[in-house]
Symmetry: C2
Subunit: 195 residues, 2 copies
Amino acid sequence: MPKIVDRTERRREIAGALLRIVAREGVEAVSVRSVAVEAGLSAGAVQKYFSTKEDLFRFALDLTSEFLEQRWETLDRSGDLLDLLLRLVTEAMPLDEQRRAEVIVINAFTARAAVRPSWAEFIRTGYDELAEITTQYISEAQSAGHVRDDLAASDLADAVLALSDGFANRMLTSATPAALLPALETAIRTLLIQR
Amino acid sequence: MPKIVDRTERRREIAGALLRIVAREGVEAVSVRSVAVEAGLSAGAVQKYFSTKEDLFRFALDLTSEFLEQRWETLDRSGDLLDLLLRLVTEAMPLDEQRRAEVIVINAFTARAAVRPSWAEFIRTGYDELAEITTQYISEAQSAGHVRDDLAASDLADAVLALSDGFANRMLTSATPAALLPALETAIRTLLIQR
């Protein structure tokens, strides 16, 4: 009788192998063969789950959002909505191996999306979703009186996402990434607090 | 008598060819051979000017800073130091083919630097220099009373650079990049103006 394999779990293992390769060697080191070796499978087995390399990349990128959502679920919920937003942004910074790998992957995807229209499409969709969620969150924080309401929630959301991306990018090659945290916190607080 | 070639000019032509390849096909399409073809030279001629691919990349990256400096030189100087800073940041956004190519190149370099320690070193040096120049500029703007002085110039500089990077990144895959400009301007003004 054949061994029953959970299809979803196997897909996650394969995408996880892809993420490790990108974080270690860059996006150009990814091939069906290298991913199969990293996952301990045959090339044929990988192709059974992902018919094209692009399917595989798309699934792996979705996985990075999932990791962030998982951390969001377990986050310390004390303080007001601005404190919580600051903790969430800090969670996305490349301050340990796992988060560093995620930022490298997102960065490499963006660089490649710029020269591959089909990739640009799914990077854009991801950004748009994130902007919508962040706008909604800031709007609630405004209603609760935790964030200034004299500026549009969508403008504030765009700024918070840009700060998050920009600081994450800079930390990636910084010798002392954590030293940039106070500047990130100052920027977000200054931007979001009504004086 | 051999034709006299301006060595500096030839090096710039070769690096320009590399930038065009990265902007069009991504960093992984770069080889001594592809750069030689793009520049209309032999592989041997390219190697006469750049002994390693890394030398070539480093020079090409320096060239992107030079382009930004050239635009800075010709910028409209009206208004106060904050207006000028806003124009400079806007100049760095990928809103036409040339600037789009520069942002793609810097982005691709950063993605690769994350998995190549020797590249991280020169990306870091570039960031550090930019942070120093920006801090100096904001400090002057503070003395002139054009920018708030209740926050450290270095923290404000880190935030402006992060906003610039983050918005440039997002515009790269946005269907309507210019639509993000008002949010960028709001963020920088809100951050830098004393109310």
